[in-house]
């Protein structure tokens, strides 16, 4: 039931773009995105509540496609501070579940 994220890991140069996908085998009604830096707690980035909704945070935005049961996180012109592990999260059958995670490393 755990949402599957892709890619599992990605390495970028500063200024490059990246897309992280979160796919579920179950219906999604809302999706949350978090970033966790090494040794720190996860930090909430954004929530998407409606199908097709897109939201933004700094140069990070996300979309939510209910039909495809997936959400995508877009990182534009990546910065060193974007490095970390990104998780999607969602409520499935009253259980809150995190995705498998995507490790992102931005190099100078």
């Amino acid at each position: 039931q755990q949402p599957v994220q892709s890619p599992q890991a990605v390495i970028l140069r500063e200024g490059e773009d990246a897309v992280i996908n979160c796919s579920s085998s179950k219906a999604l009604y809302s999706v949350h995105w978090y970033r966790q830096k090494h040794g720190e707690a996860p930090v909430f980035l954004m929530i998407l509540l409606k199908g097709g909704e897109q939201k933004g945070h700094e140069k990070i935005s996300a979309s939510f496609n209910e039909k495809k049961q997936q959400s995508s996180l877009y990182l534009t012109a990546s910065q060193l501070s974007y490095s970390g592990t990104y998780f999607c999260g969602t409520e499935i059958y009253s259980k809150y579940i995190f995705g498998t995670g995507t490790r992102l490393k931005v190099l100078a």
């Binding site: 809302s30 949350h32 996860p42 909430f44 929530i47 998780f87 409520e91 259980k95 809150y96 498998t100």
Partner: protein, 112 residues
């Protein structure tokens, strides 16, 4: 600056001992989560409460783990007896459903 406060930050204990972790959620938040994070399993939801009522604790080993919210300002997670496989970072988070969740800094538990 509102934040979720967890105590203790670090705990080393011997197998078989009781461990109690505490969490002070952000005032006004009606949802509290307990998570466990390990390298092997990633982030796992152990339990969560809404308006102090337990909604789901299916992620917890029932024979040894218990989670409570004695009042709106305190959530506790107890392990009795603790085992080495319980070693992990335990996070508490609070939020206003279905909005964002704010995480505490975590309790790093080591059971030897």
């Amino acid at each position: 600056d509102a934040r979720v406060t967890q105590t203790p930050r670090h705990k080393v204990t011997e197998m078989g001992q009781e461990v109690t972790m505490r969490c002070q959620p952000i005032l006004g938040h009606n949802t509290v989560f307990w998570y466990r994070q390990t390298m092997m399993q990633g982030l796992e939801l152990l339990a969560y409460f809404r308006n102090r009522a337990p909604l789901d604790d299916s992620g917890m080993p029932k024979d040894r783990f218990s989670a409570e919210m004695p009042d709106a300002t305190l959530a506790t997670l107890k392990i009795q007896p603790s085992e080495p496989r319980d070693s992990a970072v335990y996070f508490c988070a609070s939020g206003i459903y279905p909005g964002e969740a704010f995480f505490g800094q975590g309790t790093r538990l080591t059971v030897v």
